[in-house]
């Protein structure tokens, strides 16, 4: 670019107030977009972190969700004899029968109640998931004791360590808080399968089976084997795929966020356009002089266009800075699959900020094109006279 970049940069600095105001407008738009992408990113991370590559989740035939699946204990007994299922050191098949239900808890963000997933596991289920206890201890079999995920403890005061929750047929003691990292299990409450099944009158029918394959390469064979077994009448899938499919909970959020960002972007690009038109008008004499010195119309156009991109780029970076404090903050969204809340963290990562900056640059390009064109089309004598 023939016209020095210092010309554009210094003009932005000289008009500090205008530059800051315009950049801030663009920055707020970018912040909304980055926040939305960070939310969806966090939700996707939560689901993608859930699930072991060696695990297979088994539902009743045609089932798509544990909550609506009915898995009989008889089927479970037949299923766990499949030779594709790994065995522990004592020869026990590594397959867990589990029951999933939802209970309602009132929380900080949900004073009228929010569904939270309740999972009843047998002892093998705890071993398969290998989630560490953060505070307290694990529940004991046969007792009305539960362990809550870390996000549940944070968002629902009644579910904190030492408290009691009422569901099913009576009160349950919260004896531990588990930390499942970024996975969706942090949004669940776990307890003894038989005790929970009894409270919900589901002694004969649970929801699903979680099984570990011999190794990761053997997973497809185990899935096929279970699906093809006519005695079982089940649908088996990789546990990771089951949770991946739930990331559609973020789709409405993403669409809404994009819509709001685009609406704001229209306003911001007009602001950028207004700023650049004012700059072109104010610098008419300079434009005329540059033309006299030999700079072409194209040089003028690219210089003012670049200045608009620079302004928008500053706004983009500002927007990322504004959204950065959200990183790690916990929020929740309702899942259409589990009909319960999934708590997750905003994740403001470079993968989210880069699209934000690109969005700002597009905004700057749209807002800067007409003013740049106007600058380039000015006749020399008219420009010199206006200055």
């Amino acid at each position: 670019m023939a016209i020095p970049i210092a010309y554009n940069l210094r003009n932005l600095i000289v008009r500090k107030t205008t530059t800051v105001m315009t950049a801030l407008g663009i920055g707020l738009t970018v912040a909304v977009l980055v926040a939305d992408l960070a939310l969806v990113n966090g939700l996707r991370q939560a689901f993608r972190s859930t699930g072991n590559p060696m695990h297979v989740l088994v539902l009743r035939k045609g089932g798509t969700a544990e909550l609506s699946s009915a898995m009989s204990r008889t089927v479970y007994q037949d299923l766990k004899t499949n030779p594709g299922i790994a065995r522990d050191s004592s020869g026990q098949p590594m397959a867990s029968l589990e029951m999933v239900a939802v209970i309602s808890l009132t929380g900080i963000d949900s004073p009228h109640g929010m569904n939270v997933s309740l999972r009843g596991l047998d002892p093998m289920g705890k071993r398969l998931r290998d989630v560490p206890i953060l505070y307290g201890r694990w529940y004991q079999s046969g007792r009305r004791e539960i362990v809550v995920g870390r996000s549940v403890a944070l968002r629902y005061p009644q579910a904190q360590l030492g408290k009691q929750i009422r569901f099913g047929k009576g009160m349950w003691d919260v004896v531990g808080v588990m930390d499942a990292g970024p996975s969706a299990f942090n949004s669940e409450i776990w307890g003894d399968l038989n005790q929970i099944a009894s409270d919900f009158n589901r002694q004969d029918t649970a929801s699903s089976v979680l099984a570990r394959a011999l190794d990761a390469a053997a997973v497809p064979a185990l899935v096929n084997s279970l699906n093809d077994d006519p005695r079982l009448n089940v649908t088996a899938m990789r546990e990771q795929i089951y949770y991946d499919n739930q990331t559609n909970a973020g789709a409405p959020l993403q669409i809404l966020g994009m819509f709001v960002s685009i609406v704001m972007a229209v306003g911001s690009s007009f602001a950028a356009m207004n700023t650049m038109f004012a700059a072109v008008s104010r610098r008419a004499m300079e434009i005329g002089t540059l033309r006299v010195l030999g700079f072409s119309r194209f040089s003028i156009l690219t210089s003012f266009f670049f200045e608009s991109l620079l302004l928008a780029g500053i706004g983009g970076l500002l927007g990322c800075l504004l959204a950065l404090p959200l990183n790690g903050m916990t929020t929740g969204v309702g899942s259409f699959t589990t009909f319960s809340e999934i708590a997750f963290n905003f994740r403001v990562t470079p993968a989210v900020m880069i699209p934000g900056v690109v969005f700002a640059l597009i905004l700057g390009a749209v807002g800067g094109l007409l003013p740049a064109r106007s600058a380039a089309r000015q006749e020399i004598l008219v420009a010199l006279r206006e200055g």
């Binding site: 023939a2 020095p4 010309y7 000289v14 010195l293 030999g294 004598l381 200055g387």
Partner: protein, 235 residues
């Protein structure tokens, strides 16, 4: 015999301002040789700036021929004119027209940005030009940190940095005090006498015109015969 640098035949410029038809220049025939320092004088609206602008190819004539430095300007595209002006012509404005956010040396460097010179070569040329006009100690100053006379000298440095064949000056002393104006005129005279630059200067100041080797007068768009002052001055 000197080479002819500027030659016009029947040069005419008309334009419409609101609904009024204005004849800014009427059938101007002028010939300026290499090495001359010509002052174009005349009252306001006489067409002197219009003639200068046409010579600089900042505007296009309505009718007539114009050849500058051997080039028929009517035949050149916008882009070609820009390149020609950058390489062959230096222009000095009445209001200096320095870029406010660039330092003195950066302003002078500007025309060289369109050449193939390296950054170091450009800065060397620019600082040489500034030293030539007596501003070797003001390289890093912004225009607002310079006096009017100093600003105009920076503008002169910018006009000569590409070593142009032709220097055009539009009322170069119009916004200066007497002392600064004198400095500028002495400089222009030096560029003409010592460096052989062809200079065409528009001025309404008879004192400034005395620095030129030749004076031509315009009145109501017409170029008066050589040696004839304008009617308004002679009355």
């Amino acid at each position: 015999m000197s080479d002819t640098v500027i030659e016009t035949r029947g040069l005419t410029k008309e334009y419409v301002r609101d609904e009024f038809h204005v004849n800014a220049l009427k059938d101007v025939d002028i010939s300026i040789a290499a090495g001359e320092f010509v002052a174009l004088m005349g009252p306001s609206g006489s067409g002197k700036s219009t003639l200068l602008h046409l010579i600089a190819a900042m505007d296009r004539p309505t009718r007539g021929e114009i050849r500058v430095l051997g080039q028929d300007l009517r035949a050149l595209s916008d882009r070609a004119i820009a390149r020609w002006r950058n390489e062959r012509v230096g222009f000095i404005f009445q209001s200096f027209n320095l870029i406010p956010v660039l330092t003195a040396i950066e302003n002078v460097e500007l025309p060289l940005k369109l050449t193939n010179l390296s950054k170091k070569e450009r800065m060397d040329h620019a600082s040489t030009a500034l030293r030539l006009v007596g501003l070797g100690d003001r390289l890093g100053h912004l225009p607002r940190q310079l006096s009017g006379g100093q600003e105009q000298r920076v503008a002169i440095a910018r006009a000569i940095v590409t070593d142009p064949d032709l220097i055009l000056a539009d009322e170069p002393t119009g916004n200066l005090d007497a002392a600064s104006a004198e400095d500028v005129l002495v400089l222009l005279s030096k560029l003409n006498k010592e460096y052989g630059k062809t200079i065409v200067m528009v001025t309404h100041d008879p004192h400034a015109a005395r620095f030129a080797t030749k004076v031509r007068h315009l009145e109501k768009g017409a170029l008066l015969p050589e040696g004839q002052p304008e009617l308004s001055a002679s009355m």
